[in-house]
Symmetry: C2
Subunit: 270 residues, 2 copies
């Protein structure tokens, strides 16, 4: 199944793809995942929506937890060793934007791209085993953990480089695990102004989706609609020679085969 | 003014202290700060509550952002230099507990104390000046950023040692800035089983409350009821010789003169 939050002439709604977008109860996919079992979506789908366009997939996740240093080639380009434990940091829902919304930043910051597979939680998980965590995955989406490198480097903690409002594209749809198997491998790609900058395969992840959810659930509950970003492959701008950052008007395309494409334009405020 | 979330025989409510606790509209202080201006509290207070006890001060803040390395003596004990920028990390509302609730942890982790002044946001702040940030402070509370040091040290990012559910006491009340001036200096104290372990004064903070709110608002909006923890003074357990951590049954008292005392017992799960 493919689900999304879409806008129509009548406002936004959760929706299920069945040749066209069909209306689900609840105004967005965050609310739908909190209120319903995802398996019930086909029974709950009603009228087909005209001119529906996906917007930010999950507007109100309680938690957006990110894993850094999770692809072998990206670990290498940062000069670090393969980790024993996942490196985790948090961001807030205010960071999230839709699949074609602008990435809004002040002029002059060192903004970099990080294409990622996002895993969306479907059932509450606390001290979950790997099997429970795997069964608790609602599905997968595309994300780009746009990072403000100069702020990320200001201190030991990355948070202030990662938590800028309206900088993290998420979407365009959620694809359920029966249709997509990141453990078998899907390609995660980032292009900037049409030039490919990143290409990784999720089968090379050090910690896969189920491993990350189980690990996180050791210390905090994960709830339906929470999001975990699984890390980025090699090819980020700060590792280029010379380091290269996003400029006003640049178009960042983030693609995962089997899910879709995000296309977001960088907008620097004056 | 002193405000809190209290429980009575009839459930929980936001409340204002006027010789006794008087009922405010909204079921808790998070909801009250979202829905009302704090200056209106005296006009909105109604019947006096019998047997009211403060519980977790803010049950649903959207953001709980913490500053590390903000007291000179704590910076020294961690072997670091006085910072140019605040070191920030995030936790979630699930970490918060009330002024006398247990700190719940699995047996065997290295749990440490961090007494802190908490600043609570009263008005929405985005790209705020220092003056706007100061005017946007709803008030102050006591917090203890109980930290799981072995998990904090597993990776470069502290989040996984700081975000354990039900480990961060917050309260007992919110005191408005007209009654408490941390810039002039208030004492922040931590005792474990009655033995004083930390004592710092907020006048020695590298970044004070207004500075932290203004800085954070550069990259993300702060909303009424959001919480910023301003860092801990010297005297944490990991800096003792030998390093000393909390044991099952230990009582952690966290006190700020002019606000109150939190008294939380450590409970290790079997």
């Amino acid at each position: 199944m493919r689900l999304a939050t879409v806008t129509t002439h009548y406002g936004s709604t959760a929706a299920l793809w069945q040749g066209g977008w069909r209306r689900l109860p609840e105004p967005d996919l965050s609310a739908f995942l909190r209120e319903h079992a995802i398996a019930d979506a086909p029974d709950l789908a009603s009228d087909e929506l005209v001119d529906a366009q996906p917007v930010v997939l999950l507007p109100t996740p309680g938690k957006v937890i990110c894993c850094g240093l999770n692809y072998g080639d990206h670990i290498e380009e940062t000069g670090r060793e393969k980790p024993t434990y996942p490196t985790l940091f948090a961001k807030y829902a205010d960071t999230l934007i839709g699949p074609d919304e602008p990435i809004e930043l002040p002029a002059g910051v060192e903004a970099d791209w990080e294409a990622e597979l996002a895993v969306v939680v479907g059932t509450a998980l606390r001290r979950a085993t790997r099997a429970q965590a795997a069964a608790g995955i609602a599905g997968y989406a595309v994300a780009n953990d746009i990072s403000v490198r100069d702020w990320q480097r200001r201190t030991l903690q990355w948070f202030q480089g990662k938590a800028w409002d309206a900088t993290t594209p998420l979407g365009p749809v959620l694809v359920t695990p029966d249709e997509l198997d990141p453990e078998a491998g899907v390609e995660v790609v980032c292009r900037v102004n049409g030039v490919e900058r990143q290409r990784g395969n999720t089968k090379t992840l050090v910690f896969d989706s189920a491993a990350l959810l189980a690990y996180i659930s050791t210390f905090t509950v994960l709830r339906p609609g929470d999001v975990v970003l699984t890390g980025t492959p090699g090819g980020v701008g700060m590792a280029m020679t010379p380091p290269t950052y996003l400029a006003d008007g640049d178009v960042v395309e983030t693609e995962i085969a089997g899910i879709g494409i995000l296309a977001n334009t960088v907008r620097f405020a004056a």
